[in-house]
Amino acid sequence: MNSPPETPPAADQQAARAVVSDADLLTRHIAGDPHAFSEIVKRHRDRMWAVALRTLGDPDEAADAVQDAFVSAYRKAESFRGEAAVTTWLHRIVVNACLDRMRRKSARPVADDELIEAAERDTPVPDQTSEREVSMEVSSALKLLPADQRAALVLVDMMGYSVEDAAHVLQVPSGTVKSRCARGRAKLVPILSHLRNRSDLSRVSSAKGAELRDG
């Protein structure tokens, strides 16, 4: 078979799968469809990764947490009652997996070496400040916050979810989410204020933020 066919039979099937809702996929998974859950994973893994990475601030920990969360979701899919969106349910499982990890490690004092290092380092020319550096500084700064404030800020400010959505994920009242965000932001001001002075940051970044939120 040297010349591939124009349309492989799988294409239609894939296209059909793409329009299936998360809830339907979950139903199919419960019914025994071996591919349904991996489709859910494929759709949401980047978001789940972002949440876990920002909440935990450590890629290894985040990988463990997301894996635990997906396996856990796989097992307890039947407990999903459809009272919330599948994404909310998944976020909840991921955030809880992260919070569990943080609690287990809570004895560990804040690892702020990176932060001190970042503060002492000569401030680079603004234009050359890479996104990566900003990202690392933000990660370090977030680690200084209590777990609940961090989780709220990750969902609302970083991931761009509404306070209501975050409240559903965290299973607390909206007012609590707002208050955690407010306290968290207040603590971050002295740590992150130097980033604000870097030219172009806010302008360039707003667009990016919006993009993420829309995604």
Partner: protein
């Protein structure tokens, strides 16, 4: 208030979130109207939000995505296997990594019957024909039949695996992630074809056999670059590809490499790399047939 002159950042942050009662909010607003430092602080708070939302959220690294896929596959295996009675799914793929039947080279498999190897080029350059997939179910079972029979209980499987690995594989029971290749062959065995087909993303999610089906393989001369790349991906994926096709991806020169993810289940992992071995597409799963 700090001293009697300024408000705390926290109070200002609460104001911004509308958390203050009406009277306090009014008081703070009046102060803000005349106090520049507090106005600055409020701007700083807004800037923090800005910085946070501007921080890029990276996509999940491939390694993590693959790890999760493996964990879920193991979960499915355990779930469907039934009868094993394990509460926690063992990390089969980790436990079995060094097992001889997990390796790219099928020759050492102590299989009771010939294995279905789809369109793989044999030692002598001939292509093993595609075998109908009617025995998939049995194949899925067979995967664990050997250790299960040997050990009886799941807990003993690890020990049994190590023993068997020691006997059958040159690599021994080491946890070293280096891929154990058959000693007689220096390079991983895979089918190398040049279809020059321009793949689209959608095609790469479907049945790959339609494109890369068994055909005369390209010689292995002047392909050292591909070979290097294959080695790199082999190390990355943890196993060797079984088929590599030289073609195009969205109009760009690209090599499509297929790795078995779950052969009995017909699942392949597709990596698409450019001429310099750069990944030009997020690795994804497809079907073989």
């Amino acid at each position: 208030m700090t001293g009697d002159t300024h408000y705390d950042l926290e109070v200002l942050a609460e104001l911004a979130e509308g958390l203050l009662d009406a009277a306090t909010a009014l008081q703070v607003r009046e102060h803000l109207a005349i106090c520049d430092p507090c106005g600055e602080s409020l701007a700083d708070l807004a800037a923090v939000r800005e910085v946070l939302s501007a921080t890029p959220t990276p996509a999940m690294p491939m390694g993590v995505a693959l790890r999760i896929d493996r964990a879920l596959a193991a979960e499915a295996e355990n779930f469907r296997g039934g009868g094993v009675g394990l509460v926690e799914a063992p990390a089969w793929d980790d436990i079995m990594r060094d097992a001889p039947w997990e390796k790219a080279e099928p020759a050492a498999l102590p299989e009771p019957e010939p294995v279905t190897r789809l369109g793989v080029v044999g030692d002598d350059g001939t292509v093993v024909p595609v075998t109908p997939a009617r025995r998939r179910r049995a194949a899925a079972r067979r995967r664990w039949a050997l250790p299960a029979a040997a050990a009886g209980v799941a807990a003993a499987v690890i020990g049994a695996t190590v023993t068997m690995t020691g006997m059958l594989s040159a690599s021994g029971p080491s946890k070293n992630p280096v891929i154990a290749l058959p000693s007689q062959a220096k390079s991983p065995k895979y089918q190398l074809t040049t279809s020059n087909w321009n793949y689209t993303d959608q095609e790469l999610r479907g049945s790959m056999l339609d494109y890369i089906g068994p055909m005369a393989a390209t010689g292995t001369t002047e392909t050292s670059k591909i070979e290097q790349c294959v080695r790199r991906l082999t190390a990355q994926v943890g196993r060797a590809p079984f088929a590599v096709d030289q073609g195009f991806y969205n109009g760009q020169e690209a090599n499509v490499m297929l790795f078995w993810h779950n052969q009995p289940k017909n699942q392949v992992l597709v990596h698409v790399v450019g001429p310099e071995c750069d990944e030009v597409r997020r690795p994804a799963f497809a079907r073989w047939k």
